[in-house]
């Protein structure tokens, strides 16, 4: 926190105490601090929006970002290629492959046989969106979804691609999307962090790719903008629970004394950071009750719970994370990021992707319904996608029932729904092999620029000095906001 914020805080608090006819350092300060008035002061400290932000009226108050880690196959989900059946086990034409670079995993392969998707595709919604059976629950919302078939990225391997999708750079050190949003727009919640991350369990049995904390790290922004992991075992938020044997009453007494000590110290030193610390302890105390309330599902009605599927009661499942995303957004959390692992299907793709979609599709469909029913979808942007797509040719042996696919950064599918997004549309086209973009390429940075735009941010104007540059999420090149996606 800069001294200016702390000054600000003091002034806010002074006004408060003056209004309440009290002075700093008064007895029982701590006890008073836990009331709403303190919450006001606390939220001021947590995350005020940057001056001048949002740049314009935002459509989205919150973002739920569903990251399918490993690179889900566009060919088996959203990019329908009915003509591929005839190409089964024939090599991809060189004119299509075009000498593009391949990963070291398939570059030495003798053949590049085309593997048509074995999954059934059908049309959904008024818009008639083609989608595979794997994503039927999601596709039921086709008319609310803007599908982008032509997203492309720079990196061809997981580590740099994951870093890129979240920070706009392939190398570590830059701020993540959620951190930028929290930094720019501040927090809406008085009891919860602005940016929450969930890393649910997954179903595929192959070796799952790694996540990296840099995907939700604040990078060069102050560390308070790091994503806070909501955890499925142990404390839901790190160090939340009092040690064994310490009751809320013990803690409250300790905090009251602490506030008095610190107020006394403040009266001697005058350092505003002391006041800020008092407020942070009160915020911590509030989190000790607000977080357990957040993760307690007993207030949810049966119908809602059922809609997310049987795993909703399993802590740490994708279903429970999806429901948690809604609860977080309801409570004013600005960015929720769910990072679901296990989508890197170099082999056994059909069985593995089926497991992954069993894990995620129903909960995603339920989440969209749930948000809509509660009127939250209008102000919540939902984004789905991975770090890259997969190749049309099979990695390893191709049979009628089994194949694998290598990384494919040249085009892949992502979708957006909710706040400010035009539903029922599809952006861009790929060739018959889903190997090259034929129409309307969308760079990941364009997509990120659009996400910021929907949140009321001009991506060119949200910058921070780093490495001698005005660093921004969307990189140094010119990017475009996808106006065709905007409702």
């Amino acid at each position: 926190m800069s001294p200016f914020d702390e000054l600000n805080l003091i002034q806010t608090r002074r006004q408060f105490f003056r209004g309440a006819g009290l002075s700093l350092g008064g007895v029982g300060l701590g006890a008073l601090m836990c009331k709403e008035a303190a919450a006001t002061a606390g939220s001021k400290i947590m995350h005020p929006a940057l001056d001048g932000l949002p740049h314009f009226a935002p459509k989205a108050k919150a973002v739920i970002y569903l990251h399918m880690n490993g690179g889900p196959s566009q060919l088996d989900t959203w990019d329908y290629k009915p003509g591929l059946g005839e190409w089964y086990d024939k090599d991809i034409p060189p004119s299509v492959q075009g000498g593009q670079r391949l990963t070291g995993m398939t570059s030495k392969q003798a053949r590049f046989p085309v593997a048509p998707s074995i999954f059934r595709f059908s049309q959904h919604g008024q818009c008639g969106r083609w989608a595979s059976e794997l994503v039927s629950h999601t596709a039921a919302h086709a008319d609310d979804i803007a599908l982008i078939k032509t997203v492309h990225t720079n990196a061809i391997n997981h580590d740099p691609a994951c870093t890129f999708v979240m920070t706009g750079r392939e190398v570590p050190g830059y701020a993540s999307l959620g951190s930028w949003l929290g930094y720019g727009l501040g927090s809406e919640s008085e009891n919860l962090p602005a940016f929450v991350v969930l890393t649910p369990s997954w179903k595929s049995v192959g070796a799952a790719q790694a996540l990296f904390s840099r995907m939700w790290s604040s990078g060069f922004l102050p560390a308070q903008f790091n994503g806070v992991a909501l955890r499925s075992s142990g404390d839901p938020v790190l160090y939340l629970r009092n040690p064994d044997g310490v009751s809320a009453a013990n803690r409250r007494e300790m905090l009251d004394s602490l506030a008095e000590f610190n107020a006394h110290r403040f009266s001697q030193l005058g350092d505003p950071s002391i006041q800020a610390r008092i407020a942070q302890y009160e915020m911590a105390f509030r989190m000790q009750s607000s977080v357990p309330e957040l993760v307690d599902l007993s207030g949810e009605d049966t119908k809602t719970l059922e809609s997310y599927g049987p795993e909703v009661h399993k802590s740490g499942s994708f279903a429970s994370s999806a429901l948690m995303a809604r609860r977080l957004v309801e409570r004013g959390v600005r960015v929720v990021q769910i990072l679901h692992r296990g989508w890197d299907q170099h082999g056994n793709l059909p069985s593995e992707i089926r497991l992954q979609c069993q894990d995620t599709d129903q909960p995603i469909g339920a989440l969209l319904t749930d948000l809509k029913q509660r009127g939250l979808l209008d102000s919540t942007l939902v984004v789905w996608g991975g770090e890259f797509g997969r190749t049309v040719y099979s990695q390893g042996t191709l049979t009628q029932t089994n194949y694998g696919r290598d990384h494919h950064p040249r085009n892949f599918c992502m979708w957006m729904a909710g706040a400010g997004v035009k539903g029922g549309i599809s952006i861009g086209e790929t060739d018959d092999f889903s190997y090259n973009i034929t129409e309307s390429p969308v760079h990941l940075n364009d997509l990120n620029a659009t996400i910021l735009h929907l949140c009321g941010i001009d991506h060119e104007r949200l910058t921070v000095k780093f490495q001698g540059l005005d660093a921004r999420l969307t990189g140094v090149e010119k990017q475009r906001v996808l106006t065709e996606v905007l409702a």
């Binding site: 926190m1 800069s2 001294p3 200016f4 000054l7 940057l50 001048g52 990963t103 391997n157 997981h158 580590d159 570590p172 049995v205 192959g206 799952a208 790694a210 996540l211 904390s213 790290s217 060069f220 102050p222 560390a223 790091n226 955890r231 404390d235 790190l238 160090y239 939340l240 009092n242 040690p243 064994d244 044997g245 310490v246 009751s247 009453a249 013990n250 007494e253 300790m254 004394s257 602490l258 000590f261 030193l269 005058g270 350092d271 505003p272 950071s273 002391i274 800020a276 610390r277 008092i278 302890y281 915020m283 911590a284 000790q288 001009d458 921070v464 490495q467 001698g468 540059l469 140094v476």
Partner: protein, 1041 residues
């Protein structure tokens, strides 16, 4: 800390320039570097600066030539003629197509900035080179000091500004505050009560200096100084990318600590790290120091393209050096000419080429010891290894001699029992102090097997035991090679195990020929996702922990047929720590099935898979099979090897001599493997041709470059003018006395360490995008002082800490905060929140839990569950955190294992960087997550509990005496009257609460793994624990006041 908002930033700059620089626009003459350059750099240079490719309208405003030369008859800037300067008219324009900066740039000049530009042009538009590129003006600095009549140069410079701005500096802080401030600054630890008493009792005039010197001499000094440097060096214990596996280079970390402790001059400190390997007669320590350039993140991701990563590593290494020593943010020059500083792409790649021919492979292999890896033996280790090698070699010569004298006739099978059955008793050791001959191990960690020695645990047999440790599934798979194992009749596999009581696994198993016998839970890779195949042998519960137990299984239970060969064998476990020792196959074997007594049988069946311990010539002969049988010489050669190393029926002394040799070999291996090593930097023997990577893309090569330095700086002196420039030339160039950059950047970083904010706030960026220094003359004065001292870091620290500024009281009134919120003027003493490591170390120190052991492999203290696990790659060896126990929990934080993709929360929560790239400056945030950690983290709460036990063991003291003792132990001072009351009242309340709930109190006194001391009723300990928890959470406690 980066300011919270752009708005605040500009306010801060404005206030600072008013207060610090005194630059109200029109009062005094405008200084280009101080007043004008920041505005031009921020608003104009992107299109009208150094980067030729991006330059618009051929106009260049970063040089006087560019600004004065008329374009189409019009002067962009005409000195002293505002009306004739197009720059001015464009700035003033209200036409959106005309006005500069253009609206689409989102830049806008303030009235203040315009006024300054106007005044600058009117005063003659004088340019200066960017301030940090200017040589240090030693004379000016020195004469300036003489004119200021105060005792220290530092305070002279500071006082001038303080006086000018009519601020009042505070008085010296009291002694308790001073010693705590000094102790934290120099050692990262608080002073002990004894140290405080000693300082308070010393009434001599040099008491303060003497106290300073005691801390400068402390071994903890190096640890605190190194901590800051390791942020810059981006040191960590994992590779950082993809699998993020463990990397072994803690010897570099320890070298840094040692270098500060022995006060290695900073220029030598630099040379050793950049080019220690190239110094003639370099010591091993100097080579270890080159680890600096191996600290960057690396990958071994399947499919990653080597050329891309070779490029990325060189970029990181060059950019880190340029930033660390030259204060240049050079990373952007990898794609295009620097927009703000005179660094072209080609110049960047010239520096890059010093690092491009690195000998380390682009793919780190996911192993801990990615080459080049230097093992460094201590002198006594070296001597011991030499002695053991001599013994081994003597034993081998004796064995070879005896074997050569033996003939085939000696290979008579010893008879057991009935002569007709021709059987012998077999006892074949798979491992004991070492693996048996020809056995290769492959571990889940991808690193060599780990061995424990008798310093760790009591051995079952010999000097070493295999150690397996993991938070989840792990295994050591042994491939059997040149000495085959054939299942004997009634064959039995036996192995001794000892389960670590503090780290009990969920299950252990032994695998022979793919079939498993297990104890406890069945160890399965990747949790429940890999299913059991149903053929596993459930051998019941785990053996008891803490003692050696022999496990025995009949080979037939593994489905191994008698007289069939066993090629592989594995030990596995699920979590925990287990020692495995003396693994033996035994039984009786008939001659016709016994390759160890039957040469031809051995020859036709010896495994061709494992090549371990087979000399190359012999390997060829084995591989050739029986075709070579015709050649008597070859057969004889192979037979000799067989008699020497394999045969169990060789006559004479062969068997006895072989046992002796095997023992000698095991001892030598044990001694060698006990030596640790570290990743070091070296060049390839032939340098690679280096090219500019166009737009930073590794596969778009531009012009060829040679190692060189940017032209704007002093020239590089090559040791051999006819040869290619070397890293050693580069290192010497960095610390050349005439290089103002390294001196300024370095003293500024130490200043930041001491005062919280550097004289140049952007301590990583001394270019035109960085902030100019608040006290430029002081910075230069210090730079000269440092150089003249011989780059003496301890002397510099002594100088900084001796200043009045450092010793001032940090109390502040609201007006002073308004005027100088960041304390850049230093009219008051520096008050800073402690860093992450200091906060944890403080709790350990005051509670007496701290284990001050120096150095070694990173330790794994308490960590909440699921920090590593949710992110780690399935096969990563840092996926599962296995917490240490005992004293390792209480080591200093600098020794805590740092996994880059999931750093310890106690570090990142308090703003420690994740060490993925160089970091010259940490933030200081203030968050509720920090409050939760300090209140509830077992590390902190245990410290409170142990501190409470210490308080209660002060038996002669009453409540108030104990409260005072507690308070003073933590804060080095006595509580005042109000604090005494607050302590008493807080204690009273906690007593009441626990008095009602003794069962809860019982839980409180059990928190943490250190033994609970019985010091009275549990309610009492619990109440005092809460009081200690309170004191450890005080704002004063977590601050350097």
């Amino acid at each position: 800390m980066r300011s919270r908002t752009q708005f605040f930033l500009s306010v801060a700059t404005a206030i600072l320039s008013l207060l610090v620089c005194g630059a109200t626009a029109l009062a005094e003459e405008v200084s280009f570097n101080r007043d004008v350059r920041p505005t031009l750099s921020e608003n104009c240079f992107a299109c009208h600066g150094f980067d030729a490719k991006k330059r618009k309208a051929d106009l260049r405003l970063d040089t006087p030539e560019g600004a004065y030369t008329p374009i189409k008859g019009q002067s962009p800037i005409k000195p002293r003629d505002l009306a004739a300067s197009t720059v001015w008219s464009r700035i003033q324009s209200s036409d959106a197509d005309e006005v500069m900066p253009p609206p689409e740039s989102h830049k806008k000049l303030s009235q203040q900035q315009k006024a300054i530009l106007r005044q600058w042009i009117e005063e003659g538009a004088q340019y200066q080179r960017h301030w940090s590129f200017e040589p240090i003006s030693a004379n000016a600095a020195a004469s300036h000091v003489l004119s200021v009549n105060v005792k220290s140069g530092i305070d002279g410079f500071l006082q001038e500004r303080i006086t000018k701005s009519k601020m009042v500096s505070t008085a010296e802080a009291n002694r308790e505050t001073l010693i705590r401030r000094v102790a934290f600054t120099l050692t990262g630890l608080p002073p002990s009560v004894q140290e405080v008493d000693r300082f308070l009792a010393d009434h001599s005039p040099d008491a303060y200096t003497a106290m300073l010197d005691r801390y400068l001499d402390s071994q903890h000094y190096g640890e605190e100084m190194a901590r800051h440097w390791l942020d810059v060096a981006r040191y960590a214990d994992t590779h950082g990318l993809h699998l993020d596996n463990e990397r072994s280079m803690w010897a570099y970390r320890d070298w840094v600590i040692g270098a500060f402790n022995r006060n290695l001059p900073f220029d030598q400190f630099t040379i050793d790290q950049i080019a220690g390997d190239l110094i003639p007669d370099a010591t091993p320590e100097q080579v270890i120091a080159t680890g600096f350039s191996r600290c960057n993140v690396t990958t071994s991701e399947g499919g990653a393209i080597s050329e891309e990563y070779r490029h990325l590593y060189a970029v990181d290494r060059a950019a880190t050096v340029l930033q660390t020593w030259m204060g240049l943010t050079a990373g952007c020059a990898q794609c295009h000419d620097h927009k703000y500083d005179p660094l072209s792409t080609s110049e960047f790649y010239s520096v890059y080429s010093f690092f491009f021919s690195a000998a380390d492979p682009p793919m780190d292999g996911n192993i801990a010891a990615t080459a080049p890896y230097l093992k460094v033996a201590a002198r006594e280790q070296e001597n011991r290894i030499a002695a053991l090698k001599a013994l081994e070699s003597a034993a081998e010569i004796a064995l070879r001699k005896a074997a050569a004298e033996a003939t085939e006739a000696h290979l008579v099978h010893p008879l057991v029992g009935d002569p007709a059955s021709r059987k012998r008793a077999l006892r074949q050791v798979l491992f004991d102090d070492a693996f048996g001959l020809g056995i290769e191990s492959k571990t889940t960690t991808r690193n060599p097997s780990s061995w424990a020695t008798s310093t760790e645990i009591e051995m079952h047999s010999g000097a070493r035991a295999l150690r397996l440790s993991c938070g989840e599934f792990t295994e050591d798979v042994l491939q059997i090679g040149v000495r085959p194992v054939v299942a004997p009749e009634n064959g039995m596999l036996s192995v001794w195990v000892r389960i670590e009581p503090k780290s009990v696994p969920r299950g252990i198993s032994i695998v022979v020929q793919g079939k498993r016998a297990f104890w406890g839970d069945l160890p399965l890779a990747d949790g429940a996702k890999r299913v059991a195949n149903g053929s596993e042998l459930d051998r019941g519960p785990l053996p008891p922990a803490g003692k050696w137990t022999q496990l025995q299984i009949l080979l037939r239970d593994f489905g191994v047929k008698e007289n069939s060969r066993i090629d592989s064998f594995a030990v596995q476990q699920l979590g925990g720590v287990v020692y495995w020792d003396e693994c033996v196959v035994s039984g009786e074997i008939a001659a016709q099935f016994d390759p160890l007594t039957n040469f031809e049988l051995w020859r036709s069946t010896a495994s061709k898979k494992s090549k371990a311990d087979v000399p190359p010539g012999i390997e060829k002969l084995i591989a050739a099979g029986t075709q070579e049988a015709q050649s008597p010489e070859k057969r004889k050669e192979l037979l000799n090897f067989y008699i020497e190393k394999i045969s169990e029926s060789a006559g004479g002394e062969v068997i006895a001599l072989r046992r002796k040799w095997e023992n000698a070999r095991a001892s030598r291996l044990a001694a060698e493997e006990a030596v640790h090593g570290s990743l070091v930097f070296r060049d390839m023997s032939q340098p690679l041709e280096t090219f500019i990577a166009e737009r930073g893309q590794y596969n778009k090569l531009g012009a060829r470059v040679e190692p060189a330095v940017p032209a704007v700086f002093h020239p590089l002196q090559k040791a051999d003018p006819s040869a290619r420039a070397t890293r050693l030339d580069l290192a010497r160039w960095l610390v050349a006395p005439r290089n103002p950059m390294a001196l300024r950047v370095t003293v500024n970083r130490f200043w930041q360490q001491v005062f919280g904010v550097g004289l140049v706030k952007t301590s990583h960026d001394f270019g035109s995008q960085g902030e100019p220094p608040s006290h430029p003359e002081l910075l230069d004065w210090l730079a000269v002082w440092f150089r003249e001292s011989g780059w003496d870091v301890k002397a510099l620290m002594r100088l900084l800490l001796s200043s009045e500024a450092f010793r001032r009281d940090s109390a502040v009134d609201p007006e002073a905060i308004q005027r100088d919120p960041e304390n850049r003027m230093l009219a008051r003493g520096p008050r800073l929140r402690l860093d992450a490591e200091q906060i944890r170390d403080n709790a350990l120190f005051v509670s007496g839990l701290l284990d001050a052991t120096f150095g070694g492999r990173g330790v794994m203290p308490y960590q909440p569950p699921n920090i590593w696990e949710p992110v780690g790659y399935a096969n990563s060896n840092t996926r599962f955190y296995l917490q240490d126990h005992g004293s390792a929990l209480y080591r200093r934080s600098i020794y805590a294992f740092l996994k880059r993709t999931a750093p310890p929360p106690f570090m990142s929560n308090f703003d420690a960087p994740n060490r993925e790239q160089t970091c010259a400056r940490r933030e200081r945030t203030n968050t509720p997550m920090q409050a939760l950690q300090l209140m509830n983290d077992v590390q902190h709460f245990e410290a409170a509990r142990v501190l409470a036990e210490k308080v209660l063991s002060q038996q002669t003291l009453d409540d108030s005496g104990r409260a005072l003792w507690l308070f003073r132990t933590v804060l080095s001072r006595n509580p005042d009257a109000r604090e005494v009351k607050l302590l008493a009242s807080a204690l009273g309340k906690q007593r009441t609460l626990f008095g009602q709930r003794p069962e809860e109190a019982r839980k409180v006194v059990q928190v943490g793994e250190s033994l609970t001391r019985s010091v009275g009723p549990v309610e009492e300990t619990a109440a005092w624990t809460m009081l200690a928890n309170l004191v450890l959470n005080l704002d004063e406690t977590v601050n350097r006041n």
